[in-house]
Symmetry: C2
């Protein structure tokens, strides 16, 4: 059994998927790979996720130390920017490979 951030996983693949698995986390990381983005910018680049889920997934990624949330104004309308942490940046090659395999499928298997 492997452990990370209070959770247990039966193998290394399962640990990775516990952190970036689910339907949307990888998509969020993909969009943050090359730039910081505000909440609404993320939302516009992911038109089919609901706001509640986006919000929950951002919190989970922050909790696991992959992204950081920076608030610029304390009173509404807030300005909030999300970006990868150094730890999150270790995922960049993997996220890129995930995106590349998706491209390959679109080009060759559909």
């Amino acid at each position: 059994m492997l452990k990370f951030n209070g959770n247990e996983y039966p193998c290394c693949a399962s640990l990775t998927m516990g952190i970036i698995g689910g339907k949307w986390k990888t998509v969020i990381l993909f969009h943050l790979m090359n730039e910081k983005l505000r909440y609404n910018e993320l939302r516009k680049s992911m038109p089919t996720v609901t706001e509640r889920t986006l919000s929950l997934q951002l919190k989970a990624l922050e909790e696991d130390g992959l992204i950081k949330r920076k608030v610029y104004t304390s009173k509404p309308p807030l300005k909030v920017e999300y970006s990868l942490t150094d730890f999150g940046k270790t995922l960049i090659p993997l996220i890129q490979s995930i995106a590349d395999w998706g491209d390959l499928v679109v080009e060759n298997y559909s």
Copy 2:
């Protein structure tokens, strides 16, 4: 919008995660990466998944053309072997990267 096997995805990363995302699919593929395995062998290598979920995930992977199911005896006790298809084999480098990142986390961040 990208399409694969009847589903639509907003980006290439989301397409990949639609196919290998979720809690268990990648773990199954990881165990099938280098060998064919019978149902119970898979189950023993994934001690924390329930049989129902394992069964459903195997069907989903088969449905997406990543694995094939071969039955050797027609009457109980059945002998069934699961293995990667050629299409599934295109995922091997990605699965390996996923496993490697999990190892890296265990070694350096826990």
